[in-house]
Amino acid sequence: MSGASAQAPRRWRPAPRIANPWLRRGLWVLAVAYVAFAVADMEFDVERFISGIPRGVDMVASMFPPDFSRWRLLVDGLVESLQMAFFATGIGLVLSVPVAVAAATNVAPRWLYALARVYIGLSRTFPEVLIAIFFVKAFGFGAFAGVLTLVVASTGFIGKLLAEEIEAIDPGQVEAMRATGAGPAHVLLFGVAPQVLPRFVGLMIYRLDINLRESTILGIVGAGGIGAVLYNSFARYEYDFSMAILLAIIAVVLVAEWFSGYTRARIT
């Protein structure tokens, strides 16, 4: 008895994730301060919220039944969106290959790498809508600005993810191709391309999926597609037509989503 009780039970606690106690407590204080500040800053107005509810309900009610009578307008917009998405994905795909190669440390020289990373950084910093506003200002209203927007966004997106894939390839295959005396382009073709091809096809389909969604929204800033039709219907309080457009967009996005998932699951 004495032997067992003399020895205090050994205790164990998981080690704190942040070793420095001052930093650990400081972070908690910051978190609490942030929440307090955020709540105070929101100026949550209960009255305004309550009075808004019936208006929202009215709006949703006026959306039903959806009005498909002007389906020609709807289809035209939708077709333009789809065209923008497919066209931009195709061009983006071709342009993203050199971007990805340039942005991979293991195949590109240092200066080219830096350049490509700057481009990717820029194209991924700005949301599509901002880029679209820029292109609409530069090239005028319409699908052209939309296509340019999606091309820029696609090259940044595929370029970055494909570059990461290139950086993760088996260097042995590249070494073997260099050892045959092949030039850099040939080495890329045989030593690199086969290793990243499945990922490339997957990214293409994924990006097509994203571009289909984006192409429905870019019209709001004047960059073509069904977004413009949607925006106009809201501006004219034709909520039943808005609903018809929304349903059409949802249908397209669902089909794109299914297609994307179905195809990507089948690539090895």
Binding site: D170, A179, A185
Partner: protein, 267 residues
């Protein structure tokens, strides 16, 4: 003829992988390079085709100074040197035929390579080589569907496809089981012999080295510590290459069955 003169490699971290290595391979000779891990075997053969840039020294293949070759010259020289790898380094997602034809990459245009339109003569020779390494009928299999031994056979065919004047072989059997290792080693030496191509084979299996090579070079700490006939490799030599006792372990691990055959002189 391959001449290596005072070849030295110091890596960026200060590690001296090769120190003043010099030797000559006069004609079609199978040379086994043995030595403990980190002795510089891999660096040595990679310095020859400059996959690793040597710090000092010279390498001559025939009349060509490899260490002085410019970008285009280097590619031409690499085309003349076939290389076989420990991990086979096949293009996993391509077919056996594409892998063998990859040995001709340096001789075709980008478009030809992209469309896989290799000259008829190359394709014919690729079929012939596939038959020679025992892979008849495998031309359309994907490389990643093959067994280890089969993959190395593709690697051998690819190297020979270059019509090389020299074979650099880096641990060709380390990823294979002992039985397959023996047959692959036999195949490499046989092909090198019948085509009269000199071969430099890094191998840490002393039994295989003594059994197949016509000459053995021992490396330790980046220096050539032995250069001579396999028959001259005795206990004292192995101690010089591997350090005391270490070589016994090398035997026991890699080639137990060869111990009696090769170690007869040693024990």
């Amino acid at each position: 003829m391959l001449t290596i003169d005072k070849l030295t490699k110091t890596y960026a971290d200060g590690h001296q992988a090769l120190r003043d290595c010099s030797f000559t391979v006069p004609g079609a000779q199978v040379v086994a390079v043995i030595g403990p891990s980190g002795a510089g075997k891999s660096t040595l053969i990679r310095c020859i085709n400059r996959l690793v840039a040597p710090t000092r020294g010279h390498v001559h293949l025939g009349d060509t100074d490899l260490t002085a070759a410019g970008t285009a010259g280097l590619r031409d020289v690499r085309r003349r040197i076939g290389m076989i790898f420990q991990e086979f380094n096949l293009i996993e997602r391509l077919t056996v035929m594409e892998n063998v034809l990859a040995g001709r990459l340096a001789t075709v245009s980008f478009l030809q390579a992209f469309l896989r339109r290799f000259p008829a003569g190359d394709i014919d020779r690729a079929f012939e080589l596939l038959g020679r390494v025992g892979l008849d009928g495998y031309e359309n299999s994907r490389a990643d569907a093959l067994s280890g031994g089969q993959r190395q056979r593709v690697g051998i065919a690819r190297a020979l496809m270059q019509e090389p004047e020299l074979l650099l072989v880096d641990e060709p059997t380390s990823s294979l089981d002992p039985k397959v290792a023996r047959s692959i080693m036999g195949l490499i030496c046989e092909l090198a012999g019948e085509r009269r191509i000199p071969a430099l084979i890094n191998i840490h299996d002393v039994g295989l080295a003594l059994g197949f090579a016509q000459r053995v070079i021992g490396l330790n700490g980046g220096r050539v510590v032995f250069d001579g006939a396999p028959e001259a490799v005795d206990e004292a030599v192995l101690t010089r290459i591997y350090g005391a006792d270490e070589w016994r372990d090398a035997f026991r691990q890699e080639g137990g069955e060869d111990m009696l055959a090769a170690g007869g002189a040693a024990s």
